[in-house]
Symmetry: C5
């Protein structure tokens, strides 16, 4: 089961800015991808160190440095010194238990996001921390593992698809955030499907493990919430221009992301409401079933106990029991028992217990 | 059962502004209605393409372009290029999982609303997305299906009823929003009736399916809420003048809509409170009934078990059981049993268990 | 049972400002009372039409036009045209499902309030809509039925009691609002008494209908809340001067009303807290009683089942049952049974089940 | 039991500013204490009327007029006319169902507070209304009954203890408020002790009356809350300078009170959380005990019913029951019963039911 | 068990600023540590009085006065007079039931924090109050007991590790706060581990003491919350510059602490959500188990009661019971019983009760 809290404690006592990786080791090797592009050209350099891809394109262009594998502290440290990042930024990049945030530093903007994925076999959501730095014409992205979220972006750059090659680094930043946020919808749809199937199944035949499935969905919701709520703040601050100079063209796209995030938050709230609705029903149906069980018990007991008592009476061994001598007594008693039993039955029938 | 979330995921990886219809196919054909009117004349053009209705009336007039069937992407695209809409606006028009919102674009205002209807047989609320664009003297409305919400408005234009022909495009926009919001009251009244009948029926005879009816009403409420809450924000922003230049005459009408929406929100909250009140009572009455059942069981058992035991004792086959030889023993024992049973009965009667 | 929502739907499709009465027919006839007064004189005109009372007093004076019976649409329409009210105001006056609000129109102020009364036999709160218009020196009030809320005010005007004859129309407006708000305290005290008697009775002997009484009190609370909450906003806006020019002398009285409303809101919240406290106790006591019942059942069953079994054993008809032949066996078995029964009894006694 | 709402309704219909005492008669006689002091001298005048203590000290000094027994309307009226208080202020002083508030009048400041005490035998909190007026160098305090809250202040004035003689009337006002707020801590500590003893006792042995004790503590909490919450607002407004000109020296003391009130509010919230925690546990333990009871019942029933049935079978009086003739049949059946009983017992033992 | 509220009441009646220690006696002796440092040198003086360490270093330097053992009132009083602290500040330092706060005094800043530790054997969180005063180049810290939180800081000063020796007193203040906040993460991780182990264990085998463990974790959470929530406000105010002149270099570190605190608050909220989730499941599983128990009881009773009745019937001693004479009657009855029993069993099997 996924840990609830990062092991931040191993940094206790160290001075602020100390570079320690907090999180699980995930990647085998660091992998660095440097993409330069402008409206006419593009150039991709794929290596394991920053040094090999230093030479920028001559014409004014956008550079995207994508660093995968932040548990290789030395690679992050190198990028930090090349792009002159503050030690606290470095620390935040390495600490994967950050919450999404935007910090506006002198000359550059630092954004932390959570990219969410479904861990297929178990169906758990996993979060990967993505840190973004926007410095003039350069976007630097730090990922924990190699994912496929960024492939369509690279594709669009190579194929000059859409407006990406015509616009600046701020649009690239937007595109990266957008590709991460788009993925949240995929997660939401999956969760929505699971809630709906739970609900359907549930109305027909409530099972004993339902409560655990509700609980696990709630956990996922809490997890999702933890990633998405602070993101709204991040985008709002970008819209208010706190994340440095965005062009107007990009601004309208930010508003679009903002709408998406609000929609995601709405949906998460909707899911939470539905889950508590399902829980209410579940508890009620558990109680109702108990009622059914008790009714059956009571009906059976109430019908048979009195007539068993009568049988008991005539099973007594007293010498003088006049009725036992009568010829039709046995049949009379059997008839009496049947009458009692049937009238009880009718009574419960009328009360709709059976 | 209605889906909780739109299938936004099929847009994953596409650049922003890509035109993909998200939602169910609903309409057979696109249908376009262009109405030009001023204080003196009006002209209606009904076709399947925009091109055929291009020629505006000579005198300054208001034009209303009503496009039905947004799953015909090419028709929306044509309208977008004719009226010069931003690709993100086009995308939002086509994506029927939008939440209500107002975007203020350069030169035009874009509003997304949800028109709600009762899906008669099942009694579920269905939402249809209505997108509105206000550009100078033109209002463009995009609907998913042909509904009858707009007929009274067309009627008023044709018959020069009310003030609509005397006022501008902003009043037309208001009229359209108003006709949609008015319909919410119809929905509310239906839900109110269902809650009240649930409550009445419920106090007299709580049924086992009550919990499911409560649950389904709660779902409808959540659905309604999702459509109405953001609308308040939309109207507030229009009132604050963020949706472009509204005339003062129209402004007071906006305030009226605002009041309506607040009233709707109040009522939805009221309904929620009532539903949870009903749920509380339901749970309590389930518990109370369990108590009744258990009391009956206990009374029957407690009366008969001791006297059955006595019968059991005298049913033992010991050779030396002096009492069994006595002449009136049988009747004495019967009397004893009756005494025990009756005193138990009296005890429970006094404790008001029966 | 009182309807939760007004039948606003009958206005669907009509243009805004259409004059349709929404609500129950309550009054037989419209009744109009026009009171002119200044520091020295007063003049009362009581009729069924506005026209007959037109002539104002010569000296600068305050005029109060009190119109009872708003289901007579033509009377309201006449007042509207005499005092030049906007069609939307007229619509709001006629629509008795309005929530309390203040609208500041050009030249006059429009206020909607709810006057609350106890419907005596059933003990339900009923709300009557009171609309107030303040235009210069004139206050126009619209009531649904003839109540006695305004009698003390008329009395004070006639008898020149208090400051009312010395101050202007704004003070008259305040006085009317104050008389309505004062009545809320009467409602609150009644509800408070009912809650307290519920609580007292309840701690001594919880009844089965308690839950319904709690539910009905909660309904009243929701109803009260719906009338009072928006009123706070109305008064706040008056205090901020949004309702036109109030004199400083009247201002301090508005602050007084504001304090009253906040106190009412506090008390309603307090009542809600107490009701949920009572509900908690009720549910717990239901559970506790179930426990008592089950304990009794278990004690009886547990004591008698084992000894009944022993009786059953010696009731078997085997030929060779050596014990049955022994002389004191019967008494020994009876003794054994008594020992088992008594030790069980002692066990439960020690466990405090009985 | 203390009333939830004051009997404000007896003022219904009266003009605003009418002097009617709302509350219980508490004091026998009005008692007036006038203390004049400056850095060098002090003078105390103790009487039953204001007139006798009119002569102020010659040198610039602070005057504190303490009026006890506000149900003596005439005394309050006299003070009101001497110090020129607005009729609404007089009304508020007499109405003991006020909530804490600060009103800034022309030339003076009016503050309403609640002094809380423990009513010893029953352990209920009682509230006494204290009204304070600060007018230039004079503080007038109105109390319902003679309490001992103000004794330490008088003591400090007489003995020139602390800074009180050196500072002005605003510091005196602060000191009075502070002495009332300090008393809240005493109340809190008592409630805290009761909650803790409830909790301790509770974890060891939950009793049936626990729910009533929780309920009564909750009531006290609601009561406390009603007195303290509005007080925060009062102090905040004093700090913002809305209560007239406070000297900087006194300002820092106000901040201190503010901190105290926030701490009290925190603690009340903490207590509420703890009480609902205790309630949760209580309900769970009630359920758990029901489970225990039911398990015992089930174990006993399940062990004895099958073997009783066997005994029943061999108690039948058929002529041809071959087993009954066998020599060891009786012992075999007894053995069979023991085997069944013991295996059942073992089964429940393994399932940890016993 | 830790007390919920400090014994503030012993200060009742004393004038504000009276120096009384509120809290448990914790330290044996007061211990004073004075550290002077600048970029080049440092000097440490360790004694039991302030006087012995008076001489500052000549060059402009930072001085840190660390006073341990605030129950020694005289030592605090001495520091107060040396550094000219306001009596209210002194009072707050001594009153260990303060909530975290920041007060901006003339010339110095006063901060109260809570340092949290795990009390190892019982696993309870204990809070120690740390008061900080920043006056120009001096930081004075007051602790209740000698902890090891500050050792790494002293270490860094001695070894000139990190930036601490290069920056001013504001950075020292930050470092102290940071070391306290860092410790909260340790607490959080421990609590997280306990919640997770509770959850794991719980899903497999819910125990009866689970409810108490949930309760105790909730208590810890409330405790944590009480310490952390106000701290956010403290840091926010420092960031807004209310705590005096902080250098820009230190400002970015404050933002870092702010992020940490927000993360802690998020996590506490997450834990609360999880705990209530666990409680929900627990209650449901208790109910489910009751259901299981009742089902077993019902199955056993329902199978055996009818066939025991049959046995009872044929145990009656009537003279004329024709069936008893038939040869195969006994076996027929046994067969009938088996048939009834098995069909009941099959019925319950199909209903999945067993």
């Amino acid at each position: 089961m996924r840990k609830l809290t990062g092991r931040v404690s191993k940094k206790r006592g160290l001075p602020p800015g100390a570079l320690v990786h907090v999180g699980d080791k995930k990647a085998e090797n660091a992998k660095i991808l440097v993409i330069d592009y402008n409206e006419n050209n593009y150039n991709i350099c794929d290596s394991e160190g920053l040094a090999e891809c230093r030479s920028p394109m001559e014409k004014p262009s956008v550079r995207w440095v994508d660093i995968v594998g932040i548990d290789r502290v030395e690679v992050v440290a190198e990028a930090g010194s090349v792009y002159n990042l503050h030690p606290l930024v470095m620390e935040d990049i390495l600490n994967t238990s950050q919450r999404p945030k935007l910090d506006d530093w002198d000359g550059y903007t630092f954004i932390v996001l959570k990219a969410l994925h479904f861990d297929e076999p178990g169906g758990e959501i996993t979060a990967e921390q993505v840190s973004l730095v926007l410095r003039e014409d350069t976007v630097i992205s730090f990922q924990e593992i190699q994912g496929d979220d960024f492939l369509p972006i690279i594709d669009r750059i190579i194929n000059n698809h859409g407006r990406i090659r015509k616009l600046g680094a701020d649009y690239l930043l937007y595109t990266i955030i957008d590709s991460i946020v788009d993925n949240y919808f995929v997660i939401l749809e999956r969760l929505g499907d699971r809630i709906e199937s739970l609900e359907d199944e549930f109305l027909s035949d409530p099972q004993k493990d339902t409560i655990h499935r509700i609980h696990s969905l709630k956990r996922e919701m809490i997890f999702l919430r933890k990633s998405v709520w602070p993101l709204r703040e991040v985008i709002s601050r970008l819209e208010r221009g706190e994340g440095g100079p965005f062009e107007n063209t990009t601004m309208v796209y930010l508003r679009d992301i903002h709408d998406h995030i609000v929609q995601i938050i709405d949906t998460v709230e909707l899911f939470r409401d539905m889950l508590s609705g399902i829980l209410d029903i579940y508890l009620t149906s558990v109680n109702n079933r108990l009622n059914e069980v008790m009714k059956l018990l009571t009906v059976i007991t109430t019908i048979f106990i009195p007539i068993s008592f009568i049988a008991g009476v005539y099973g007594m061994n007293f010498r003088f029991m006049p009725e036992t001598e009568w010829r039709w007594a046995y049949f009379a008693v059997i008839g009496l028992m049947a009458a009692i039993g049937l009238s009880m039955f009718a009574y419960f029938k009328r009360k709709r217990w059976i």
